[in-house]
Amino acid sequence: MSLAVGVPAVRAQSSGPDFWSIQLSGGMFAPIEANGASPSAGVRYCKHYGGNLQVGMLSGWTVKSTRLAVPASGSQSLESQVELAQVNAHLVPVMGFMQVDFTDKLFVVPFVGIGAGYEWLVLVAKDHRTGLESKSNYANVAWETYAGVGLRLTSRVRLNSELFYNGGSLKRNILDPSGQTWIEVVHMNGVGARVGLDMIFE
């Protein structure tokens, strides 16, 4: 199969100690406690230890925009709505990760990975009914795991498609009017899918 697609060297040139790679990916992420999926983009930068093990850092950016709207009164069109509130969420993880490729010889490369680190969430809410606008920052330790399949396009470029799970309960401390401190949390557990280009360089 590798000959058919013209892969010059099927075995990845990643068995040496000085190979690094970067993956640029895009996909969707769907938190369990929020309806709908959101677009996300990510990057993984890592060093190769042997032909099967990679260790590095990952980051990403997920944007979720949600509106509360009602149909406009007197309108005959379903598309005409009045927006009552809007919430925009930005999720940014920064984690260390470890990935295992199950083969470094074949054209199709199954792989799994796990990451752990910190995650930040920025919630920007506008309630047009009350005129209130708020911006809240949540952060906490979080983790991620993923599994997928890569197609080795050349000896240095791979196309990866993967499913991933993000787990985290991001928090912030708030003071109520009586001076008591409370913890607010936003659960960011959810699943997603993404496709990325993995490029090896020395």
Partner: protein, 268 residues
């Protein structure tokens, strides 16, 4: 080529048969020496037996090696077998479900081991299982990601530290079935906060405990294996408490349960 010294008398049939047999052995010995790395050096076959001759009376003689007749075959030494790496680091993560608690909890662990025999390794394992329960209420009614206010929180951390023995059923195949047992001590740290009343409680339970596991590993490289395993943790962790009357009681938390975890096994 092979050359026999012929005496004045023709050898008898049995002697000729014996010579042929020895020649076959010598050729076979040379072939095996070249193809089997673990075979013993066959110099004695290739040199001495090829110079077997007969004297005038027809008796078989095995003279000393005569370098003038047949040069000694080059000695083919088997390359030294690579010394197996003796130490192992196993990093793992998964889920653990105590039987008395209906919720899976994430678990992380490490096993540091050393090869004892060909298939057996022994060492120390440490795990960390974390479970958190919140009592929450929604903050607002806005759509999308919903913040929750935490009214009360309970955290449990289970930490075993054990000695283990693990057996790999093969050291050569790509798939490596394995199993292990461990015994040692286990701690359970419980913390509870009620933010509404400001109450805080903390308790530590400990006792002897054990673990057993079995799984399948995929050998990706000489020093790298990916393992998937099921495990059982058994233990009844205790603490002593004194009631208001001064009587001492024993409180126990059973942490028997099953779990699944995947890990990376690195030898060094």
């Amino acid at each position: 080529m092979f050359r026999f010294v012929r005496g004045s008398a023709t050898p008898r049939h049995g002697v000729r048969y014996l010579l042929s047999l020895l020649s076959c052995f010598s050729i076979a010995g040379g072939v095996f020496a070249a193809t089997r790395a673990d075979a013993a050096p066959s110099d004695w076959l290739s040199v001495e037996l090829l110079q077997v001759g007969t004297d005038s009376t027809g008796t078989v003689q095995v003279p000393r090696p005569a370098t003038t007749l047949t040069p000694p075959a080059p000695t083919i030494l088997a390359p030294p077998a690579p010394k197996p790496k003796a130490n192992y680091l196993h990093l793992q993560g998964g889920l653990f479900v105590p039987i008395d608690v209906n919720a899976p909890s994430p678990t992380l662990g490490i096993r540091l081991g050393r090869r004892v025999t060909g298939h057996m390794r022994a060492g120390l394992l440490v795990d960390w299982t974390f479970e958190r329960k919140n009592l929450e209420q929604p903050v607002n009614s806005l759509p999308g990601l919903q913040p929750f206010r935490v009214l009360a929180r309970a955290d449990g951390q289970l930490i075993p530290a054990m000695l283990f023995i693990e057996v790999n059923l093969t050291e050569k195949r790509f798939l490596v079935p394995f199993g292990g047992v461990a015994a040692g001590y286990e701690w359970l740290l419980l913390r509870a906060n009620d933010y509404r009343t400001g109450e805080f409680a903390k308790a530590t339970y400990a006792n002897f405990a054990w673990q057993g596991w079995g799984g399948l590993g995929m050998r990706l490289d000489k020093g790298l294996r990916v393992d998937a395993e099921l495990f059982y943790n058994g233990g009844s962790l205790e603490r002593d408490v004194t009631d208001t009357l001064g009587q001492t009681w024993t409180e126990a938390v059973r942490v028997n349960g099953v779990g699944a975890r995947v890990g990376v096994d690195i030898s060094y």
